[in-house]
Amino acid sequence: MEEGGATARPRRATGRLCSTCNQRKAALKRPKTLEQICRECFYSVFEDEIHNVIMDNNLFKPGERVAVAASGGKDSTVLAYVMSELNRRHNYGLDLFLLSVDEGITGYRDDSLETVKRNEIEYGLPLKVVSYKDLYGWTMDEIVKTIGLKNNCTFCGVFRRQALDRGAALLKADKLVTGHNADDIAETVLLNILRGDIARLSRCTFITTGEDGPIPRCKPFKYTYEKEIVMYAYFKKLDYFSTECIYSPNAYRGFAREFIKDLERMRPRAILDIIRSGENFRTATSTKMPEQGTCERCGYISSQKLCKACLLLEGLNRGLPKLGIGRARGTNGLNKRVEQRNLRSERTGSNIESKQCGTLDF
């Protein structure tokens, strides 16, 4: 696979030297550039690139209160560490803290919250936890008991997104940062193409979203490879939690993720290229985009009368858990769009978009 070098034992060629410092032994191959670099140079380039992304995109202003969305997993653990480090090193002047969401998944979130609590102490960042039970009256365990293992990730995702916003508002945060990495974003671009979700396709590559809303959120790891995040955590011995969600094996995302990882192995740049493609999509002016308004019930941003979370919640509370699943439903002022959609489907003879995402198979 790798060209073996001139010596008989490629690995023991007393270490290939770091292509940056030319002094120390290389420790990893960067997927982004294919350079071989040593640990120390990796730390610098990893942190500097994130710093540059933050500066080039003016992600923060001095004095801002910034909530770091913390799940206890690898991405958010590294994010909390790097943000706190960069804030100190470059005098961003940010008031940082950790924000966690307790979905109420026994054996998963309760354990990972322990990790976040350790991070709270180690990085000296205060922690705030908001729970689904408090916000919605339901834990994920209770939801799964009611609806089973189909679409449960839809509930969890929609609820989490709002929970983070509400938690951030509660903390009087000016901004929310999440640990979404380059692999995640490439995966989301693909998913939005697969689902024909034009509105999200154009939004999903933005480094900052919700600037018109109460709490803008941004992704400092937008161009950071997952491999480097995990290598960074490993070399720095950062404490993170890696049990998979016990409910996730059904997640549609898994298929897209595996595809991305296969592409990465053949050509690591593929990840950045998919992001670039996503950034450069232009929506035809004739494409109707949903208008952004606010939810009648809770005031959260929504393109419909009710936001997705309130709709899902209503379904749960009324014993109609399918309410709000899938986008093409006539239950929420969507009739016009459904008609358009049906017209389009008749033309193309495919109705893939109106299927529930969790039931799509490859």
Binding site: A27, I229, C245
Partner: protein, 99 residues
């Protein structure tokens, strides 16, 4: 050949939640060298107790599983063709779990 194998990032769950395994692995009969390719086969049949597809794909690790040999990215030392040596430390980390 004595080796230390370490599983992380969720892969330990496939081998009864034990992260560190101290093992003895012999080269295939008739060969004097043990390569990473051989080791993966050995690991899959001796240590992985469930969901082997989370660990292997084809004859290599599943894409998204990182491998370090003596704390060095295996992509720098020959990946599957790397020849192992006595007392080597091999780490497998999944990037596929949670975030």
């Amino acid at each position: 050949m004595h080796l230390t194998l370490e599983f992380g990032g969720g892969l330990e769950l496939l081998c009864q939640s034990t992260k560190i395994h101290s093992v003895d692995v012999k080269p295939k009969p008739g060969e004097d060298k043990l390569t990473m390719r051989d080791l993966l086969v050995w690991v899959e049949s001796n240590l992985i107790k469930e969901r082997p597809e989370m660990f292997m794909k084809g004859d290599s690790v599943r894409p998204g599983v990182l491998v370090l040999i003596n704390d060095c990215d295996w992509e720098l030392c020959g990946s599957l063709d790397t020849e192992l040596e006595e007392k080597d430390n091999v780490v497998f980390i999944s990037t596929l779990h949670g975030g």
